[in-house]
Symmetry: D2
Subunit: 110 residues, 4 copies
């Protein structure tokens, strides 16, 4: 078990970034793209902010808690949007975003 | 002249990211690293947040103004630290960070 | 005029990344997404590789020439795909990718 | 257990990126920075290429195998350098880079 600082939040951010990229990629194959474009846009914001936050946590940046606060907000927004779509990828992404939001808030409120 | 949305802020963020990466790289060659380690750490935060923000602006993310607000804050912090060091790279980086902070605040306050 | 090492290649990579992100964002609003999905996928590869390469050039990484070689290849591929679509964003993106590919090859062949 | 495509390689890249960022951060606190500057530089290349590759794998980019080939090369180079230093962070980073290199080569040779 990895006991490095912030390890569980790094893992949550990495998992969320992968789920968002997978969701966007699968959504691009959906027939009704107009319906799903907002989801793909939020996936891009969320994936890249999660990777940015993960890196800042690994560097133990003194700003990591602030980055986590913003990350939690975007994760929640992405989860809300994905939860409105019945596809499997959106369901997985929504769940993974909720977990990441919660773990990030845990860093912020420490 | 490129008249795309957010173009001047994208350019300011890209210039700031490059200045921060160059500053960190040059600072790694300084003899008294203990003196300069904080600068290198802030360079890493600032460079990666500027690249993240630049990408969000190019995507015209609806969250771009919020990302710019955070980016302005980190740019100011990096500029403050760099302005305390007499090296050429720190001077250039500090100036470039100040410009980026100002342009980002312009997006935020729109 | 900025006379730092690799400056023109950094600028070409940054411009290409922004053009790719803008192209993907505009393509998401197109009615026939099935037609344009491959373009959006290549935009994502090209934008993120250009930002990665730009950062490596700013750090004066000893591996920068190898990163530029791969970047040139992806830029060409993205330009080829975009050139098959008549939209304004694809035209701009294709042109910007061609320039970036050429500048990156210049670093590689030095 | 996550059975998504490329999942084990995504996890190896994410773990390697975090190990490299942690190694660089800890090395910045070392007294003899001249000795360790090359390590910090390679950490930056390796961490950012691993995150780029992880994202490409999650998108199932058709270029993922080529990105993995380059990633394996940089991971090996970073592992070689870290293995020359006795610090705990360099040992962990070297081991994590070796695993990532091997998993990336597995994607490339498929």
């Amino acid at each position: 078990m990895n006991t490095e600082p912030y390890q569980s939040c790094i893992e949550a951010c990495d998992a969320c970034a992968a789920a968002c990229d997978r969701c966007a990629s699968a959504c691009l194959g959906e027939p009704d793209i107009a319906h799903i474009a907002k989801c793909i846009r939020l996936n891009a914001d969320c994936a890249s902010l999660c990777r940015f936050t993960s890196a800042a946590l690994a560097r133990e940046s003194h700003l990591a808690p602030e980055f986590c606060a913003l990350c939690a907000q975007i994760c929640d927004e992405c989860a809300d949007e994905c939860s409105r779509h019945p596809s499997e990828q959106c369901g997985t992404c929504s769940d993974t975003c909720r977990i990441c939001a919660e773990v990030c808030r845990g860093i912020w409120s420490q």
